[in-house]
């Protein structure tokens, strides 16, 4: 059984605005009968104000498809067409208190039905530019078509590349075999072969620079300065994803950091820390282990031991 939210269940068991809309002047039919989900959205738009006065749906589909349709009609009633077009599929999913990754396409279908209906009202032709493939990464809901296109567009060669570009494979990692298969297929088209030993960004550091015993050359103060520089350099990227990182302490070759906001609990945290660690090793020329820690109550200044 799917882990549906109470809101999804409510909208499935008691769908709002089901059925045809009398005197509708906009219709959007989208979906794929082979996939088992299809939706007809009908709107009654006031020609003077462009306000959606009524909305109704007919859906062939599963529980979350019906719930997404129902939620969509509730969300757009009373909005102008331009306002309604701002509704994203994530908005629909949020309205429903989330959808399982396998079911996110139901919210996409809702958004597309809306675009199609509004195009119909405006006398435009709506064309779907969205192709859906088999769901590969269940942690981040990334499908095969998305992975394939991204590999092709960016010349990706490794699973790590794919994770960096699409997030696919950055969670539980059980889809790595599937990603490797797609890589193999796309690379074969280019006359190349997938190399499971290849390393992705960051570039492998030349072996002579890894544990080169340079520790003696840097003072503790110099080391910490360099560590702080690395932290400062990665923060903007993390902040862009509504996360952050904070330096807590340096103990020997252990660098203790605290992940903040979206980074904390993110399934990509391990990957992020790996990248930071790699950069620190390059900056310091010694082996560094970055360890995530919970923040202590009494903030301490950076102290150096050992």
């Amino acid at each position: 059984m799917w882990d549906y939210s109470e809101t999804v269940k409510d909208h499935f068991f008691n769908p709002r605005n089901a059925g045809e809309v009398a005197s509708a002047n906009a219709t959007g039919d989208v979906g794929s009968i082979s996939c088992g989900d299809a939706l007809r959205l009908q709107l009654k738009v006031n020609p003077e104000t462009e306000i959606i006065e009524d909305a109704g749906f007919q859906t062939f589909g599963c529980g979350s498809a019906i719930a997404s349709s129902s939620a969509l009609t509730e969300m757009i009633k009373g909005k102008t067409l331009d306002e309604a077009l701002k509704v994203t599929n994530q908005d629909i999913a949020d309205f429903l208190q989330g959808l399982p990754p396998e079911k996110m396409h139901c919210s996409v279908m809702g958004r597309e039905a809306l675009q199609a209906a509004i195009a119909d009202y405006r006398g435009e032709v709506w064309r779907d530019d969205h192709e859906e493939g088999e769901l590969i990464c269940k942690c981040f809901a990334v499908d095969a078509v998305m992975i394939e296109d991204t590999i092709r567009a960016n010349g990706l060669k490794t699973v790590e590349d794919v994770t960096n570009y699409t997030k696919a494979g950055g969670g539980c990692s059980s889809c790595h075999e599937g990603i490797e298969e797609i890589l193999g297929k796309v690379l074969a088209e280019q006359g190349l072969e997938f190399d499971p030993e290849a390393r992705a960004w960051p570039e492998p550091i030349p072996s002579e620079t890894i544990p080169a015993p340079t520790a003696g050359k840097l003072t503790n103060l110099q080391r910490i300065k360099k560590i702080e520089e690395v932290i400062a350099a990665v923060r903007p990227t993390l902040q862009a994803d509504r996360g952050d990182i904070e330096l807590i302490d340096v103990q020997g070759n252990q660098v203790l950091v605290h992940l903040v906001g979206a980074c904390a609990g993110c399934q990509m945290a391990g990957l992020t820390l790996g990248g930071v660690q790699q950069q620190m090793m390059e900056a310091l020329g010694e082996f560094i282990h970055v360890v995530p820690v919970a923040k202590k109550t009494a903030p301490v200044g950076v102290s150096v031991r050992g």
Partner: protein, 402 residues
């Protein structure tokens, strides 16, 4: 737990008698059957008895032909991989398009390792063309793997006849019989079946126990090597409680075989008639004249299966569906597609699978509930009008990117 359980092809409740007989093997009878002392000895004898109980249900000639495994999937993988290892020059496999993923996904994987897999097609009722099968049998084929009964439709394949044909061509024959064992009489000693898989939890034994029947003299290569358990054919300490439970379950299945064939079948037929009489635009899939006594698969047109299951579940009725959504895949059941069932019906297939624990009252409740569930969803469907499907449904509603 309250509710009406009609999903016995997915798994069954463990028979209370089975549970009772298993319990001592979690407590005082904890010994390792390989041990010499009294703690292990008694467990060893219990496993011996269970082996004979399984042998008896299968009609196997020797108890040493019974190899305990962890599940049906392990038995399937062991059988197929063994044939490939034992006959390394043979690079072909014959199976069918409607096998369980336990066989199908393994075969797809083996194709990547340069084996050629022949997938026998089925007709609209899920039947095979034995002429096509005969043509494919050759010294290039390492193994034929064909299910005894299909898990979705309950349709039976003529595996006894197919094993004779394979044997005549000098090819090993394996059957995945997890749905058939305990529901139809089986007498392996009079067949040419070389290997057979069964799964305990499909016949009121617990999950985590399976059997590979291995006919004496069949060339075999183990999947798991290690200790001498199962005469070295399946290493790993025996799951003694589950083995004891499976033995009891097999004895009970033999005892209830006639009941399954008469009473359970009658309940299934009552359910089928009740639904067909009350619901327009639905039909039975598979081959109704040649199927398991407990299985009914109905396609409800113009609605989707997961939605049906959710509404049935609200009324306490448990069944399963071949829709894409229930499995999280992009296509409806491969079994329904192989039989050429159109998408508008394949997504609305519902499997009701009964057991000896179901009652006539339960069946009548289901017959009373189903029509309302179907009507409610059809009211939401773009393919459905006031009192029936819209005219030319496929053209009246043709969504973008179909």
């Amino acid at each position: 737990m309250d509710g009406i359980y009609l999903d016995n092809n997915a798994t069954t409740q463990v028979d209370p008698e089975v549970v009772e007989k298993m319990l001592p093997y979690f407590t005082e009878q904890f010994g390792n059957p390989s041990s010499m002392h009294q703690f292990g000895n008694k467990v060893g004898f219990a496993i011996k008895k269970a082996r004979e109980q399984v042998q008896s249900l299968l009609g196997a000639a020797y108890d040493s032909e019974i190899v305990f495994t962890s599940c049906g999937t392990e038995s399937d993988s062991t059988a197929i991989m063994s044939a490939l290892k034992a006959y390394p020059k043979r690079k072909e496999i014959i199976t069918t398009v409607i096998e369980h993923p336990a066989v199908l996904e393994l075969c797809k994987h083996l194709e990547k390792e340069d084996y050629t897999v022949h997938y026998l097609k089925v007709d609209e009722k899920g039947r095979l063309d034995l002429g096509q099968y005969q043509k494919l049998l050759s010294p290039e084929v390492a193994i034929v793997s064909v299910m005894w009964a299909n898990n979705e439709t309950g349709s039976l394949f003529p595996v006894v006849e197919m094993a004779e044909m394979a044997h005549a061509a000098g090819v090993l024959f394996h059957t995945d019989a997890v749905q058939a064992v305990g529901k139809v009489p089986i007498d392996l000693k009079t067949t040419k079946i070389d290997m057979l898989s069964l799964s305990g939890h499909k016949l009121h034994a617990p999950k985590g126990i399976g059997v590979l029947y291995l006919k004496r003299g069949t060339r075999f290569r183990p999947l798991l090597r290690g200790g001498h358990q199962e005469r070295g054919r399946r290493a790993g300490t025996e799951n003694a409680p589950a083995i004891v439970g499976l033995g009891v379950a097999c004895e009970l299945a033999a005892k209830h075989m006639a009941f399954e064939q008469s009473e359970v079948k009658a309940l299934r037929d009552r359910l089928q008639q009740g639904i067909l009489d009350a619901v327009p635009h639905c039909f039975v899939t598979g081959d109704p004249s040649n199927r398991l006594p407990n299985t009914l698969n109905v396609a409800f047109e113009y609605i989707e299966g997961e939605a049906i299951l959710m509404l049935l579940n609200k009324d306490g009725i448990a069944a399963s569906s071949g829709s894409a959504c229930t499995s999280g895949s992009l296509e409806p059941s491969h079994v329904m597609r192989a039989m050429g069932i159109p998408f508008t019906a394949a997504h609305g297939t519902v499997r009701f699978s009964l057991s000896r624990f179901n009652t006539p009252e339960e069946i009548d409740k289901v017959v009373a509930v189903v029509p309302g569930v179907v009507a409610k969803l059809r009211k939401l469907s773009p393919y459905w009008g006031e009192n029936g499907p819209v005219a030319n449904p496929e053209t009246a509603f043709a969504p973008a990117y179909a």
